[in-house]
Structures are given as C-alpha cells and as structure tokens.
Symmetry: C2
Subunit: 345 residues, 2 copies
C-alpha cells in the first residue's frame, strides 16, 4: 500500500525570528511496507510535540549557536524529527510489530520512517491518554521532574519562583514544588494563565509579567523573604531580577532561554550577587535524567491517578497546523503542553 | 603605657571608583592595657591583608549592593577590619596572653582593639614566615583551595582557565590545578605577570588579556578542545568568553568580580550555552570552606616544604601606604598576595 505523506520542512535555515513563510508543507509518496531484510520501522504519527528548542536546530551552522553541536541541526527540505506518539504500520525491526503503539522521536508529519529503532519505544498507555505520554509523562514531565528535584535540590518550605509557569514544563515544576511542600509563585503572560496557576494548579501566587514595569520590585513584592529556587525558562531580565531577589545558597535551574532563542536580550545577572549569596546557576537537558526516569514515571502516574497533578494540554489539529502552532509558542499562545494531533487513534 | 595608634579610615562611603582622597590616616591615643574584668585583646599589627572585596564594604547602604548584607559595611571614620597577623600586647581574654602571635580579623592600622576574641586565633607559624599565614596559608589560600577542589570538582587532565591568574587567589588556583594534574592556562595584565605564570609557577600557558582584541577567539586559541573549568576572578567579558568556550558539563567557580566592584561592566554569559552545555556557575565565599581547612593547611604546608608550591607575595611597607596599596589592586599593580607590613616582628 502506498500513501501520500504530508510533512513539514523549513525552506531555509532560520536565523531571524521564525515566520510562516520559513515553513513548507511537503508531500511524498510513501510505501507502507518494508523491504525484506530491512530494519526500518514505519509509524503513523498520532500526536507530535511542539517545543521552542526546535528553533535552535533551525539556525544555519555559521550563525548558529555553538550549543547546537549538542543537538542535531535541521536541514532545509528534510523531515523534522520531534517527540511524539504513533502506531506502527510496518516493521522490519524485530522489536516492533504492526499496530504497536510507540513513543519516541517521530517527525512533524503524517508518517515517520525510522531507519533504526533506537529512539523509539513501545508504549503502554497505562490507562492514560496518549497525549500524556508526549507531555506530562514524557519529556516535558521528565524535564520538570529532573530539573526540579535533581538540579534545584529543594527542601520543604523553600520559596520557589517559576517563569513561563503555564508552559509545558513550568506548570509541572510548580505542581511538583507544591506537592513537595514548597511555597510557589509563577509568572505568565496573561490574566487567563495567572488564573489557571492560582486556581486549578494551586500555586501560592502568580502574576502577569506584562503588567509589571520593574521585575525586580515585582519579585520583591511576591518574595519579601527572598527566593530560594528559580526555575528559569526565559532568561533575560527575569533571570536578572530573580538573582537580585535570591537568598543565600539560592539555586537557578536554567531550563530554557526563550528570550534568547529568537535573538532577544541576554541576561546579565549581577555576578556580585552570585558570589556573595553563593548562588548556583545550572544548565541541564532532559537526557541527563534517564537515571530518575522510572521514579518520575511511577510518582507522576500515581499523582495523576489520585488527582494530585493535572495535565494541562493545548492540542492543535492537523499536520498543516504545525508551523502556526510552533510560531505561537514564541507569542505565548499556548497554555500548557502544546501538541499537534495528526490522526485519530 | 599609652601609644598613638595610626589607622586608616574612609572619609565617606565610596560609591564611585575609589581614590586616595576617599581615605584618611587618623591618629588616636591608645592605652596598651585592658581594664580589670574586660575581655578585650589589644594586638600590635604586623601584617595586614589588602583585598579587593573591601571596596564593596565601603559603599553606602542605599547604593550598595544587596550582597553587602552578607558582609559588614564599613562606617566612615571608623577603623577598617581586615585579616592580618600580629602580636598580643595586652589581654583580658583568657585565651590570649601578652606576646602571643595571633592571626585573624585585625584592622588597617598599627594596633587592633578586639572586644571579643571570636575572629582571632593563636598562630603557630610552623616554621613559615608570618606573611604566609595571611596569604597562602590564610584566607587567600583557603579561597583558592576550596574554590578549586570543592566548587570546581576537578578531574585529572581537565582543562582549567584562571583569570587574574597572578593575583592572590588566582596564582594558587593555578598551582593547585597543576599539582592535581590539570592543564592550566592563566591570563593576567602584563608581560611580567605572564612570564611569572609560565616560568616560576609552571602554568601550561598564559596570556596578557590587554593584548587581545577578542577574548572569545583568544580562549579558542588557548583551548582548542574547550575549557572544563573556569575559575573567575573578574567577571564581565572574560566570563562571557569562557562560557562560550566551555565544554559540556563545564564549571565556573565565581570567586570575584573585580570588573563590577567599581562600577564596570556586567557579564552577560550566553544562557543558551549554559543550558545546552549544562554549565554550572557557582558563587562561593571562603567562610564556606571551614570544613576543609585542616586538609588545606596540611596539604599546602607540605607542598611549601617540598618546594612544590610557591608563595608569591607583594609586600608594601607602612600603615600610611594602605590606601595606595589598596587602590593599586584595581589597576592590577600587585603580583601575588598584597600585604602591608605594619611593624617588624
């Protein structure tokens, strides 16, 4: 059987702010079978993850960050790999059979052709929606869990500040921190997001950073006794303001820098504060946390079953919506984990 | 017996670059005896330490850094406390007797009157010059030792970069790193300093940062395989360049920020590098390392006795020289540990 696979590519490398015109929906004929002796796995994509870090992979090598040597660049015209959940339609790989549900590195398209099965795993939904395995039980969840527990090393009662707190990772950091016994304040970019944080997600407090003219004073107001832990998803002025309001032996978990990804301002945290207050600023990636993945899955799925944690999802439909769903991340359109639903289960 | 004690004060708080005119040599009559029942200790100062961090204590409260709440501010007109070595001339404190050699928090003056003996210890010179106990075996040494071993957590063969590498702490970090088996490059601000690092101190390489127009390229040249550890004494552009050249899981020990102390530029390290390369930037103070002080003393004195470490000292004579000796730190005048000799032993 042969189908027409529709998938998203970039037309050129993107070194400025990304726009719709940088993207293209391509089509290619795809045989839903594998040649005898081949190790290929062909997956029908069901849900794919939409994450800001992809923009760093779209930059040209010359202008791109040295950091991209730690992730694989995206070539114009080629399929873009991204985490997702799908169903195997054909397999030459003994680890996978037709109709297996799988989770792993798929593509921003209707089908994924995986030459090796390395970044693919069979998925037991454990009674949860598939989308949970891309978000709260997937890389977003593990990023939040590892970043909070392994990097921030929290103690009960500590004061935690989370930026982009209604985002895919931020909302989970706040939930973990509350369950652990910390005082948690988040910031986000709209009234609706702030209400979600204070209401459904149980943050102790939250504010709309767009309504604040002086972030340093704002944080002083929300943390009169100082910040012990700052989970940073944005960088720039928010990082500076958090460092200025930090307590001795404070920790900054540097998870993301959305302010810098598309050429925005850099943070210039006061290093005198860093020295005198013995602040630690630590970068991390989700791949560093594979050693705690089993604990993460077991604890998080328990919390979901008992209703102690909430999955906040923002699901957009259709492969053709991927570029706009992606671009919306940089405008703060999403609330919670953004996914694109490619096909019905 | 009564003497005239000469000591240095600041006339006003110093919120700009410090100048000679900010300082004053004051005199006061001082009885070299303690009243019965008093706990006072009077010390004749022999050597006092001259350190850049003092400038942060001289700032006014309003304009001063929040960080100064972690160190005690200096009041205009009053004696300025500073580490040093001296000899007890009178004591009402049962822990000290006349003629005891002592080390601890003395003052920038000829005599120190200590109301409590808390920050004072009897000194056994262990066969070393007194000056060593203010420098290489004192706070400078422990800062270097703790900062390198406890904060940087080095592995043999790692590539280490040290800024202000001929300074009181930097030269010792480089020496510890070499003895430990690391590859060490230092930067300093003169040809003479660079020669000291490469010659007497055995650094693998060194360069004069004033001769470099692009610090990022310079570090790329000296570290073609990247930097694993950066021991930062300066901040600003050097910190940015080091982060740009850092390897995955690199560590920055933030020891001092001389570029910021007198109103210079702040560092804006690229946080995207920090995230992707999982860099840790950690501030620290010498007081954090009391748990390793015994090890530090034993290992460092062994290294000194066997000639494996060198004490680089820069000794200026006379209490009246303190302001110029201090101001010279910000021009990079000193080579190694700067002390002022107040009196003959």
């Amino acid at each position: 059987m042969e189908v027409t696979n529709r998938y998203i590519t970039i037309k050129t490398h993107i070194d400025s702010a990304p726009k719709e015109s940088h993207f293209e929906l391509k089509t290619a004929a795809l045989a839903l079978s594998v040649a005898p002796g081949s190790n290929y796995v062909i997956v029908k994509n069901l849900y794919v993850s939409i994450d800001p870090y992809q923009v760093n992979r779209m930059k040209s090598y010359s202008s791109s960050h040295k950091a991209t040597s730690f992730s694989v660049g995206i070539c114009p015209g080629e399929a873009i790999d991204a985490h997702g959940a799908g169903r195997v339609v054909a397999s030459g790989n003994p680890n996978f059979e037709k109709d297996d549900l799988v989770i792993g590195l798929l593509t921003w398209g209707e089908y994924s052709v995986l030459k090796e099965g390395k970044a693919l795993n069979k998925l037991d939904p454990m009674g949860f929606p598939l989308t949970y395995h891309v978000g709260i039980l997937g890389t977003s969840g593990l990023t939040a869990y590892g970043g909070f527990f392994e990097v921030c090393k929290p103690k009960k009662g500590e004061k935690v500040f989370v930026s982009a707190a209604s985002g895919s990772v931020g909302n989970l950091v706040g939930q973990y921190a509350k369950l652990f016994g910390c005082y948690v304040v988040g910031c986000a970019g709209s009234k609706q997001k702030v209400e979600l944080l204070k209401g459904k997600l149980g943050f102790d407090d939250a504010f709309n950073y767009k309504e604040e003219t002086d972030l340093k004073s704002a944080l002083k107001r929300y943390f009169p006794d100082g910040i012990d832990i700052y989970f940073d998803n944005v960088g720039a002025g928010m990082l500076e303001a958090a460092v200025a309001n930090m307590n001795a032996f404070g920790r900054v978990a540097a998870c993301g820098v959305i302010s810098e990804y598309t050429g925005g301002l850099r943070a210039a945290p006061d290093m005198v504060d860093v020295v005198y207050k013995r602040i630690t600023i630590q970068g991390f990636l989700v791949v560093d946390f594979m050693n705690v993945r089993a604990d993460f899955l077991s604890r998080t799925s328990d919390h979901l079953r008992t209703g102690k944690m909430q999955a906040i999802e923002d699901i957009v439909a259709g492969v053709e919506s991927i570029p706009s769903a992606f671009l919306g991340l940089f405008r703060g359109d999403n609330i919670g984990k953004r996914l694109v639903k490619i096909a019905d289960e």
